[in-house]
Symmetry: C2
Amino acid sequence: MENSTATTEERILEAAKRVFHCKGYDGARMQEIADEAGVNKSLVHYYYRNKDNIFQAVFEDAFTQLITKLNEIFFSELPFTSKIESFISYYVTFLSKNSYLPLFILNGLHEKPDQIKSLLEKNHLSPERLLAQVRKQMREELNLEIDPFHIYINILGLSIFPVIAKPLIQTIFGLSNGELTQFYEERKTVVPEFIINALKGYKNVHGK
Amino acid sequence: MENSTATTEERILEAAKRVFHCKGYDGARMQEIADEAGVNKSLVHYYYRNKDNIFQAVFEDAFTQLITKLNEIFFSELPFTSKIESFISYYVTFLSKNSYLPLFILNGLHEKPDQIKSLLEKNHLSPERLLAQVRKQMREELNLEIDPFHIYINILGLSIFPVIAKPLIQTIFGLSNGELTQFYEERKTVVPEFIINALKGYKNVHGK
DNA sequence: GTCTATATCGGGATAGAC
DNA sequence: GTCTATCCCGATATAGAC
């Protein structure tokens, strides 16, 4: 199933990712993970001892994947508008290729919000620093004195929602796979434009 | 647990809603539903025969709840900007009181996208009509000749995402319950303003 | 490390008394 | 309609041979 150069442990983890991402914790079966990895069920227990442990490993991996790039972009030296463009462009591509990931993460956070903290520290994520950085750039580059929190959540929502709503979009609005790809592609320009326009509007009202 | 005037069947359904909404299909237990309703486990089977049936009932109820009001607002006689304000205001309130609903729906759609169609018909939801309506109003009232689809998804994302990301927002950014309520309250004005500003920006570029 | 066999338990579902 | 008792399967987990 997987490249046979990988160690057994790696093959199991990769298999576990595929299964957990699609089925969630409760829906996933140890047997299915074993099958997917092409090994015996007992081997999964041998390497990870129980279901919770392997889920934890999968969840941390997913969370880290999403957060690392976010940090990289928002703490870079780019001007603010470029950060928005980079962020949207990267996440639309990444998420549409891994469309199960955001829902998997959000479900996981609902089930075990307590373990978030340690993940944050592992990933060196400081929300305060990030918001301060956004506030600073909005002030200096866009002349905006507004709370960046809503803006930040808006950016996330505009990037992430269309991906987790994929079945809604595709079934309700009847988009083919090709049209959906096209739709996501369009969002790379539409969404940054939408956000920048919205910010310019604030400027007219509140700016000096 | 529930008002004892309700029939047993209703009490079971209400209990099932609470359990399924929080735990999802795989995480929910027939025993827990029975306990929550204050009845014997066999009674749940007596009224609904199996787990799939009762889940179906719960899912349809949730979906209808969300869709009905959306239809009502977008097919009303209000001007477009008022529709946006009404929509955001209603959904922010409703969803923050039922914060488990959107994730429950999205998960359900991922698991069984096939059964969406019949739900749409039951709810008299016609996506084409809705988009046509939005397009017409954007043209006539805002002088915008742009594809309304992205706008529509943007509105949904800005309304829904902050609710499903509740544990992310609350844990990562360390908001207390009071601060979270405040945050949602602010969005009732911030988000419509954000959207209207964005639309005005389009006007400057593309409008006549 | 990898497999087979098995222990153990929980959960969905049914039978049948009242 | 409501309950008790029970069936039966599937899933996690472990023991132990190789």
